[in-house]
């Protein structure tokens, strides 16, 4: 639109760090709390260097007390602070599930709008590093089931950089899921990149033949699949959900009305997953537009295995996405 602005080369992890730094500079009620966020620099090195810049009160290392410190984050938010609670991974968040569901998500409704918990909870999610069954879950779909919270899945550098501030300004609890395979991803970002919206899906690649709907760690695999499909004359449209709760139905249905075919790529286990919800919404709202059943590419219904070839087979991969897209077009 205007003259090209400067860009910087950075990683997803760097972008997230910048987002935290920026938020903490702009708003003194923002602070980061979680295991190993301070002295260790963050399990995924997201908060490296922040302790030196902001001090131990605002970059607060916690003991291994997920329920305790998540509840504390909720309480601090109820008393007017804007905490960023970092749960090391979604796998450990289960220990804090009671506080997230029974306090954060419910307090506004339950108190008749007197109290709310405007905190942000960040978690790493996903498989791919051979961390085996207990460290490889993708449970963002579960969380997207809960009314009272918002759930985000930044899949790009812009979103890693820009979603956090908007989430902190939101008067409701917001969960941000960062796929572990994305932290090392590098690319170019506008030097003045800032806050972005947190309630719209984005069309990452426009197409005419099939809508590939996805988020987070599966986004780049889906884009690769779209490139491969183009070589076979299949023009795929790729939708990045960005927000898992609320879902941007309008963007999804607009796409399906155009392509008449949809495949959803979701790293959760197939049964009862977010992809099932999206399938149902497409059936409810765009049934008459469809030329084929909606397809899904999800994780196999197994605990994620350790050995590399099995782990790769368990989660969505480019060949399965290509096959599902072709199946939707009736091409084996």
């Amino acid at each position: 639109m205007t003259a090209p602005s400067k860009t910087v080369e950075l990683s997803y992890r760097d972008a997230m760090r910048e987002a935290i730094r920026d938020a903490m500079r702009r708003d003194t009620t923002v602070f980061l709390m979680g295991e190993d966020v301070g002295r260790y620099g963050g399990c995924y090195a997201v908060s490296k260097g922040l302790l030196a810049e902001f001090g131990p009160e605002r970059i607060r290392d916690t003991p291994l007390s997920e329920s305790g410190f998540t509840g504390a984050g909720i309480g601090a938010a109820m008393a007017g602070m804007r905490p960023i609670v970092e749960l090391m991974t979604v796998n450990f968040s289960l220990l804090a599930l009671d506080q997230i569901l029974n306090t954060a998500a419910t307090v506004r409704h339950m108190s008749g709008n007197q109290f709310s918990a405007p905190l942000v909870i960040r978690m790493a999610t996903g498989a791919g590093r051979q961390l085996a069954a207990q460290h490889s879950h993708s449970l963002e779909g579960w969380y997207a089931h809960i009314p009272g919270i918002k759930v985000l899945a930044p899949g790009t550098l812009e979103d890693a950089r820009g979603m956090l501030w908007t989430a902190l300004q939101d008067p409701d609890p917001v969960l941000i899921f960062e796929n572990v395979m994305l932290y090392n991803m590098t690319g170019k970002l506008a030097a003045d990149a800032g806050a972005v919206d947190i309630d719209k899906a984005a069309v990452r690649r426009a197409g005419r033949d099939v809508s590939l709907i996805t988020y987070g760690g599966s986004l780049w695999k889906t884009l690769d699949a779209a490139t491969a499909l183009a070589a076979e004359n299949i023009d795929a449209e790729v939708i990045d959900l960005r927000s898992l709760r609320p879902l941007d139905d309008a963007t999804i249905m607009r796409s399906v009305a155009k392509t008449r075919r949809a495949v959803i790529i979701d790293e959760g286990w197939r049964s009862g997953s977010l992809s099932a919800e999206i399938c149902t919404r497409i059936m409810e709202q765009a049934f008459w537009e469809l030329d084929a059943p909606v397809g899904r590419v999800c994780s196999e219904e197994v605990p994620i295995p350790y050995s590399r070839h099995l782990e790769m087979a368990a989660i969505p991969q480019v060949p399965r996405i290509i096959a599902a897209a072709k199946a939707a077009l009736g091409r084996a």
Partner: protein, 330 residues
């Protein structure tokens, strides 16, 4: 414990006020029981009979800016704190004039204007919350105390230990008040805790603590004064174990198969209202007219609350999804 805070301030006026507050809670709970049998109040109802001295002894010592977190047995705490009896009862009826708009019911009384943070149905769920409230105050350098009430049953939950550890580690101004009524629903303390001397557990987290006779409103008030003072001065947490007893069943639908009537009766003879009244009478600090006046005032207040709740209206069904998220959302 300094000499200043040791001495209870027992003027006649203050004493009568203490007694009235306890009677007020007792009559309110009694009326709730009646209304529950008539199906005006539904769901679960947990009554405070026998434990009044704890709420009445601790809460008036706090300042208006201090914060209170309580449990599902919180009617007494709410009333003493200043939540109007009218809106509290309307809440239990489910009417939109209730303090939580009828959304919460008996277990979820909330009141922002008195810094009353509920009303929590998850045992132990309020402890991390109180840690967070205190954390916010500490980070802003404010001289506020957060009082967290919980039963001895919560002591078994992991969140209890996580919260005490965090409060001690970060030096947070939390007053932990454990209302030890010897039963977690139907499970006696002796069969659920390896260490039944609850206040000793606080020592493991290096939190100053004491135990007090929870049936003695004067002793509770004196201890609370010491405790609140300590928290405000040091900014560090304090643990107060109030040893008390629950005269009624855990909730309305409880056959009390886990304890025998003789035990309940024995405690009934030393419950706080009987005890304090007896002491006041023995010390000629109360006159039968005082008592009659108190009862009449309380009765009138209760009747007014019932009338208010009965008159109350139902929130329109169309509003069901409101206040799930902020109304600011487009």
């Amino acid at each position: 414990m300094t000499a200043i805070t040791d001495k209870p301030r027992l003027s006649r006026a203050h004493s009568l006020e203490l007694l009235k507050q306890m009677i007020r809670i007792r009559r309110f709970e009694d009326k709730c029981a009646e209304l529950y049998t008539q199906e005006k109040i539904r769901g679960f109802l947990h009554l405070y009979d026998g434990e009044e001295a704890v709420a009445v002894g601790v809460i008036p010592v706090l300042e208006p800016r201090d914060r209170i977190v309580a449990t599902y047995r919180e009617h007494g705490h709410a009333l003493v704190r200043g939540v109007p009896m009218t809106t509290a009862l309307a809440e239990m009826y489910g009417k939109q004039e209730g303090c939580s708009r009828g959304r919460g019911g008996s277990m979820h009384l909330f009141d922002r204007s008195t810094n009353f943070y509920g009303g929590n149905a998850i045992v132990g769920g309020g402890l991390p919350l109180s840690v967070g409230l205190a954390l916010a105050d500490r980070m802003r350098g404010e001289n506020t105390v957060t009082a967290c009430f919980f039963g001895e049953g919560a002591v078994a939950e992991g969140e209890f230990h996580e919260s005490l550890n965090l409060a001690a580690l970060w030096g947070l101004p939390v007053l932990f008040v454990c209302e030890n009524n010897l039963y977690a629903m139907g499970t006696a303390l002796a069969i659920s805790e390896s260490e039944t001397d609850i206040q000793r557990k606080a020592a493991c987290y290096r939190i100053a603590s004491e135990a007090v006779d929870g049936m003695d409103v004067v002793a509770v008030e004196a201890a609370a004064r010491r405790a609140v003072h300590a928290v405000r001065e040091s900014g560090k947490p304090y643990f107060l174990e109030c040893r008390t007893y629950r005269l009624r069943p855990h909730s309305m639908f409880d056959a009390q198969l886990y304890r025998d009537k003789a035990e309940v009766d024995a405690w009934r003879h030393k419950e706080p209202i009987v005890r304090f009244k007896g002491w006041l009478e023995a010390n000629h600090m109360i006159h039968p007219d005082d008592l009659a006046r108190m009862e009449a005032e309380v009765e009138a207040e209760v009747a007014e609350a019932v009338a208010f709740a009965e008159r109350g209206t139902w929130e329109p069904v169309e509003q069901l999804t409101r206040f799930t998220y902020s109304d600011q959302a487009a």
